[in-house]
């Protein structure tokens, strides 16, 4: 009873929970309401990871002429609230439903079991295994390795820096790949490393001021290329690098092309790409076409799920750096180099 009423409230169109599960029917014709995208705290508007997911969401929405809804969480919430959010999306008929960020893993697991006809996606987590769940994960360390190679080649002082948003395993992967890549060029290179906060709630991914302070500190210590994996905080890193006329390396999206960073873009050496938007788009496409993705879908250098953006003409002009990065890419794709994750 309650469920039906709730479904009414959520969908507002007389569907009951039993028949509202959208999805592709036997004929392959898409009958869902669109894409449901659920962010984690500090999600939307980070110019980075979450906005990349949103870009993929918009692209799919437009291309397949379907609807969509993206929702943000509230403070102090637990998994029970995330379950509620995903369930509301499922009841309203959205398909696929994507949890942006690994904190959604337990919620996706629970709700996916209740709605077997709906396809779920979870970004950055590969622990949820179900027929109707696609684990959208990435070899971030591979892209970071390329960033490390580029940094070690571009530095003049053999001194580079890394700034992570939050001290968590996911971001440790970025650091591990970066350090390994840099050391592959110059084993004696000095790498500064710093994490902005211990928990995401303290704003490690969303505080440009923290990023700017940390970057200024590393530059003062002598680093002249700084790679950030810090979401919105990275804007401060790039700003500080530009102010001191040293290189910054962006993350997730091609930050050279971001309008918010246009003033500093000539100091952006490149960006370690993580194609979250592509993953959202591909999952939606597979659902619309009636062949939903399932299981672990891991983006790597080979598949183009991760990469290194080279839009800056100043970067392209440094032929030896470009050659070294290309060589490293080749080695990873061919399996000659395995990149550590820790």
């Amino acid at each position: 009873m309650t469920v039906a009423v709730l479904a009414l409230a959520a969908a507002g169109c007389g569907k009951s929970s039993s028949d509202s599960s959208g999805g592709s029917s036997e004929s392959g014709k898409y009958s869902g309401k669109g894409i449901g995208l659920a962010y984690d705290i500090g999600g939307k508007g980070d110019q980075s990871f979450n906005d990349a997911a949103f870009a993929g969401f918009q692209k799919a929405e437009k291309e397949f002429k379907i609807g969509g809804r993206d929702v943000e969480p509230s403070d102090n919430e637990s998994t029970a609230d995330k379950v509620e959010r995903l369930e509301q999306l499922a009841k309203a008929g959205y398909n696929p439903i994507i949890g942006v960020g690994f904190v959604y893993a337990p919620a996706v697991k629970e709700v996916a079991a209740k709605y077997p006809k709906v396809t779920f996606g979870i970004i950055d987590d590969s622990t949820v295994r179900a027929k109707n769940v696609a684990d959208l994960v990435f070899h971030e360390e591979q892209a970071s390795y390329l960033a490390g190679v580029a940094a070690a080649k571009a530095t003049k002082k053999n001194h580079i820096g890394f700034i992570g948003g939050v001290d968590i395993p996911l971001i440790h992967k970025f650091e591990a790949g970066y350090v390994q890549g840099a050391k592959s060029v110059n084993p004696k290179i000095k790498v500064e490393s710093q994490y902005l906060t211990q928990t995401a709630q303290e704003g490690g991914f969303s505080s440009p001021d923290k990023g700017e302070n940390a970057a200024t500190g590393q530059i003062d210590a002598g680093a002249d290329v700084i790679y950030h994996a810090a979401g919105l905080s990275g804007q401060g890193v790039i700003k500080a690098a530009a102010a001191h006329r040293v290189w910054a390396i962006g993350v997730d999206s091609d930050q050279y092309k971001q309008s918010a960073l246009a003033a500093y873009k000539q100091y952006i050496l490149g960006s370690a790409l993580k194609n979250v938007g592509g993953a959202v788009y591909e999952l939606t496409k597979s659902v619309v076409e009636g062949k939903p993705l399932s299981g672990e879908v891991r983006g790597d250098l080979k598949s183009g799920g991760v990469g290194f953006a080279d839009s800056n003409p100043r970067y392209q002009a440094m032929k030896d750096v470009v050659a070294a990065v290309d060589k490293a890419r080749q080695d990873i794709v061919e399996g000659k180099v395995t990149v550590r994750t820790q």
């Binding site: 959520a10 102090n76 509620e84 690994f102 987590d125 968590i168 709630q201």
Partner: protein, 374 residues
């Protein structure tokens, strides 16, 4: 037995009611200013409160808020501002989760042990601030704020995988707790959800809070010291001991506030464990005027705002931003402070007037008696 005092009840109720009404009105002003319907969101949120699964979410959340707010209120009663409830409950929840994952006693022993670990951790963490205050005179506000930050770092360290952490995918957890430490809840079916069993602990703590404060010598000393430290000291109360004890109790209760979720649902402490309960607890203790019943209503109200507001995002035909609820919570805090002070002053003035009138009547009485005598 005290005589039922209508004026006192009126004064006690007026504060929160005025605060709520003005918070709602101000929120409506915000809605109008942003070109939205000023009343529809309330209707939508009230509609949500009628659904049983939302009710379960509200009750569960309120139980945690209640414990956190009680912890704050114990401090307030003693004129201590324990801002550190946030760090105390997170550290306590983490330690309890670690204990729960590494101890495997039978349930009737496991759960008490876990409760003791939680209370102990919270008390120790708050006790640091207490000791600093009584020995060095460090303001508990400063000490507890800093202890919050230290707790965050300590948790970060203790959940490293080479200490007590267990990595699951990209999440750091403390490992799943043994089943004997899972506190059974009231399962209302898959569509409605489960009420955490420890909701009843929150109720019990509320009762205990009332009894200790109002019916024991200790509670009297506590309130006396809170009202005037020097006066209490003059009547033989050891103020330093009271401060330390109040901090320890406040921290112990704070330590419990994460447990309904931990023992009832999450069964592990991870990166997705909620933070910020302690700060919401301050709002709730203020709104509830440190009274166990008032805090219960306030906790339910804030939990209602939290859990009913997400539906605003889905509302048809017009969706509203659920941040309306956040604005409202902020305005409530604001209005509470203003209206309590206003009501207090109004009450004082009324009292003065009444006393003045009584004195005048007495004088007049004397005067007339003199006339008669003359």
């Amino acid at each position: 037995m005290k005589k039922f005092d209508r004026e006192r009840v009126l004064l006690a109720v007026a504060g929160p009611v005025i605060a709520l009404v003005s918070a709602i009105l101000l929120t409506s002003v915000v809605l109008i200013a942003s070109g939205k319907n000023p009343f529809e969101p309330y209707r939508l949120m009230l509609q949500q409160a009628a659904y049983s699964d939302v009710q379960v979410l509200i009750i569960n959340q309120a139980s945690m808020y209640y414990l956190a707010a009680l912890a704050v209120a114990i401090g307030f009663r003693m004129n201590l501002f324990n801002i550190g409830v946030d760090g105390q409950y997170r550290l306590a929840a983490m330690m309890t989760a670690v204990a729960g994952a590494n101890l495997a006693l039978p349930g009737f022993l496991q759960i008490p042990v876990l409760l003791i670990v939680a209370i102990g951790t919270g008390a120790v963490w708050a006790g640091i601030a207490g000791v600093l205050k009584v020995t060095r005179g460090v303001s508990e506000v400063v000490a507890t704020i800093m202890l919050n930050a230290i707790a965050t770092s300590l948790i970060g360290y203790l959940t490293l995988s080479d200490v007590w952490g267990v990595q699951v995918g990209n999440n750091m957890t403390t490992g799943i707790m043994h089943k004997s430490g899972w506190f059974p809840g009231i399962d209302l079916g898959p569509d409605v959800g489960e009420i955490y069993g420890l909701v009843f602990l929150a109720v019990l703590m509320g009762v205990a809070y009332w009894i200790v404060l109002n019916r024991t010598r200790f509670g009297f000393d506590l309130r006396a010291t809170g009202a005037s430290e020097t006066a209490a000291a003059a009547s033989g109360v050891d103020a330093k001991r009271m401060i330390l004890t109040a901090m320890l109790i406040s921290g112990g209760v704070a330590g419990l506030s994460g447990l309904p979720l931990l023992l009832g649902d999450a069964h592990t402490y991870s990166l997705s464990f909620p933070t910020g309960l302690g700060f919401t607890g301050i709002t709730i203790a203020l709104l509830g005027r440190n009274s166990p019943v008032g805090i219960a209503f306030a906790a339910l109200l804030i939990a209602f705002l939290d859990k009913a507001s997400p539906a605003l995002d889905y509302a048809t035909p017009v969706a509203y931003e659920k941040e309306i609820a956040t604005i409202m919570q902020g305005l409530i805090v604001f209005a509470v402070v203003v209206s309590y002070e206003a009501v207090r002053q109004w009450g004082l003035r009324r009292q003065q007037k009444r006393v003045g009138a009584e004195l005048a009547a007495e004088l007049a009485h004397h005067a007339s008696q003199k006339e008669v005598a003359a």
